[in-house]
Every structure is written in C-alpha cells, then in structure tokens.
Symmetry: C2
Subunit: 158 residues, 2 copies
C-alpha cells in the first residue's frame, strides 16, 4: 500500500527535528513552555500542509493551460476550540493572486478544482471541520466565500 | 476567537514559503512534477504536526513528574488512498524511547494521555481517519498496538 513516512527525533528541551522526504524540519515551543523557539510550534503545520497542497495544484493546473501568475499568496487561519484538547474547529483561506486580467475565470476554476476535487489535504481536513475560502485576483474579490453559512468565519478576519 | 494564522507565498516553479509564527518553512515538489526539491512536499506536514504535538506533550508531562528521557524518536506513517484525491486514510505511529527502566509505566501513561486527551492534532485527525500507535521503551515493546482491529496496519510496517 502506498504511504508517506516521516521520522521525528527529540533534540532536548522542546525541540523536535522531523525528517520529511530528506529535509529536516525543526519544531520547537516558545520559552514560556520550556522551549527555545528554534522552529514553529507543531499545530500550524496542518495549515501549512493545506496551503502547499492547494497552492501546488493551482500553479500546476494553470501551467497546463499555459497560464502564469505574477504573484500568489495564501493566508490560512485555523479557529481554535474553546476546550481542551486545543484543536482547529474551522479553517478559512484567502487566496490572493495577480496575473493577466483575462485569466480570472481560469484562476477561479483552478482553485475550485483544487478545493473540491484534487487537494487531498483539503479533502482530509473537511472530514474533521469546515474548510472555506475566498479569492482575490488583481486586488478584486472574485469569490467572496465558499458558503454563506460560514460567512461569519470570514467576516472577522477582515 | 483564538486562532492560528499562517501566510504562504509562491516563490516560482513549485516552491512555496510559509511564514509560521515567525519561521520560514519551504515546501517544494520533486523535479518530475516541475519542482526543484528545495523542501518537503506538503502532505507529510500532517504527519509532522502529529509527531511534534504528541512529542511535546510526552516530554512536558514527564518533566512535570521529574522524569527525563535519554532518547526519544517517533516514526509516523500515513497510508495513502487508492483513489484521487490522494489523502491519508490511516495513520500509525511508533514511539521509541529510552530512559530509566523504573519509568516504564509513566512513559506509557504520558503517551496514552497525549493520544487520548491532550494532543489536539491527534484529536482532529481521528475525526477523519484511525490513528493508532505502539510504544517501544528501552528496545522492548511495552504497548503493541492501540486496537486489535488495526493490527494489520501495524503489521505491514515491521
């Protein structure tokens, strides 16, 4: 069965180094909980994985159509539960891209395909919580939010 | 509402740099899909987050009892779906620790508390798929597997 495997080694105090397909990723805790802040805390790697997964989808899909972006950023926000264990209960993304004005529909289609069909991280996380997104292209909101009922989550970010 | 937020910027080709609480995390794709392998692929960051979350729990819980480990490693394996979108359908962890032989029960309790009560990443992921684990302490298996019905997942790893 196909699989991914990582190996993580404790480096003293609160530092853990993960070997992820040949690259070393350092995780650490802030000083107030005994760490030295040598790397990110672990939980936001969930958000990081989501941004990388969908980001690579979008670039690859557009490239197939001969479309190249001039700029592409994503903000990913995970709302934390009020109770322990501290976990994300909703994730909202803002895609912000720049490129040829004639490619607006292609960009919208690529992000929709990634979120709804291709991105395995998004598909996994949606089994555990709502994942919503909005899209800004050339400084204009072209997709305000995925679903009206999640608008409150997006609303507080702006 | 308390939240975590990350920002990810496309750096050309398939490279994406994420800013995660002040640290830059590079993600990239292998050459066969247009990348330059400058960092890990995104999906295994899910496994990385899990290892860091539970690893920090265990070290912190043991430290509270005045217990220090001499060595601590984790392997995390994510089984990939057969169909698209490619996602993890089961996660299995092997904890491997060394320390004072008298602290075996404390180590077992700390890992159980992390997996069943404290670790938010494990709690989140369990909503989407089974997460199982086994524990090796001083080269001896002290916890063979979380649940008998998942034994097949563990079995293929050894």
């Amino acid at each position: 069965m196909a699989h991914h495997e990582i190996e993580t080694t404790w480096k003293g105090k609160m530092q853990f180094n993960a070997d992820v397909n040949g690259h070393t990723i350092v995780m650490d805790a802030p000083a107030r909980v005994g760490g030295e802040d040598k790397g990110p805390i672990p939980k936001p790697f969930i958000l990081t994985a989501l941004s990388g997964c969908t980001g690579m989808d979008v670039v690859a899909l557009l490239r197939k159509s001969g479309i190249f972006l001039s700029d592409f950023q994503m903000k990913v926000r995970g709302e934390l539960s009020k109770q322990q264990p501290l976990e994300y209960v909703a994730i909202h993304m803002i895609y912000s891209l720049s490129g040829d004005p004639g490619h607006q529909q292609d960009v919208l289609n690529a992000i929709t395909d990634s979120q709804e069909k291709i991105c395995g991280v998004s598909h996994m996380l949606k089994k555990a919580m709502p994942v919503t997104w909005e899209i800004i292209y050339n400084q204009e909101i072209i997709f305000p939010n995925h679903s009206a009922e999640r608008k409150s989550v997006a609303g507080i970010w702006h």
